[in-house]
Symmetry: C2
Subunit: 207 residues, 2 copies
């Protein structure tokens, strides 16, 4: 089987961009080189919303599902990368309508966010009406190249609309080198037990 692979995951380092640029959210790596055995071993600490990560409903809904319970068939399948490079603030329903989005697809937003290695407080986000539209269509998940799918909306209606309608939320993608189009999508969140999100590796395959 011949295919091209795009790695659409952020590189996780101690100086990776983090939410609100808060120092306490940065990852910490502790590496030990053992002189006698010649081996190296590391332990890391990180927020589960670091870099590319998948939210589970528990992140925003008190009785929401945890990350390890997300069905495998939701993590793999058809994804469409939408070119939204022209948008500067909000992604609305009217921005999405021209794409003829289908039930069961993953939809990935390629925006100016993919070009920034530092945290931008004014990142492009999905407005509540866009979230309602995607929930009505029954997409499998929505991926964004910002660290969050929304900002500037009280009570997080974009997150909660998607989560209440079983639409997965993937944040922190890197899509700058990926052409708009349809791909086979592989999403691999760490299999963490009982919590509200997991850092993930994500790939797009073009057969």
């Amino acid at each position: 089987m011949s295919f091209k692979i795009y790695d659409i995951s952020m590189l996780i380092s101690e100086d990776i961009q983090v939410w609100d640029n808060e120092e306490s959210r940065k990852p910490k790596f502790n590496t030990i080189h053992h002189a006698v055995t010649g081996t190296t071993e590391s332990r890391i600490c990180l927020d589960v919303h670091t870099g590319t990560h998948l939210d589970a409903p528990l992140h925003m809904l008190a009785d929401g599902a945890t990350i390890e319970t997300i069905p495998l068939h939701d993590l793999h399948g058809t994804a469409r990368v939408l070119d939204l490079m022209h948008i500067n603030e909000e992604i609305t329903r009217s921005d999405l309508e021209p794409f003829a989005i289908q039930h069961g697809e993953w939809i990935l937003f390629k925006t100016r966010n993919s070009l920034s290695e530092i945290y931008e407080f004014d990142f492009v986000y999905l407005k509540e009406d866009g979230a309602k539209y995607l929930a009505e269509l029954g997409v499998k998940g929505v991926g964004t190249d910002a660290l969050g799918i929304e900002r500037s909306q009280d009570l997080f209606p974009t997150h909660r609309t998607l989560m209440r309608n079983n639409v997965l939320i993937l944040e922190g993608l890197r899509l700058d080198v990926v052409p708009a189009g349809t791909y086979f999508f592989i999403l691999a969140p760490l299999k963490l037990k009982g919590i509200e999100a997991a850092p993930a590796r994500a790939f797009l395959l073009k057969m």
Copy 2:
């Protein structure tokens, strides 16, 4: 595209089995529920050799490559699950010869290790002569269902033989429900910068 997916990753919890059963190696999860916003956020600490994980050469070779530099095409491709349930101690060259192993394959060992949820000090491991054989054949990687690919060998010759010959080492698989055979393999280590291993999610797809 229709396919069956096997998730061959360990579930990571605070009480997951860890190397040598050392308490200090266990993961720690710190979860905060924010009453005002109704949101939940967690931070985790874990050894990068926790659960299912991919070693980079730096783990055992002082000048070895780090985990984020492993080429993408080594993380995806054909994998063969070998049924080695009859072996009680060591996997040797003579155990492997009957399988007609091919250059460029991933080879995954399904052993009694997959059945245990606690750390077994006498886990089934790959002996040095088996590692030399796989390196000569030029396999892409070797996966095992123990937390380590070897034990009871001074200076870690199994690890070092494989690493010096560009054979990847994947540890901590769960293969008990996977039939022996050929699969499309997807390996997704966290994209960590500059260190010697990463926890991973791993899937087998049967088309």
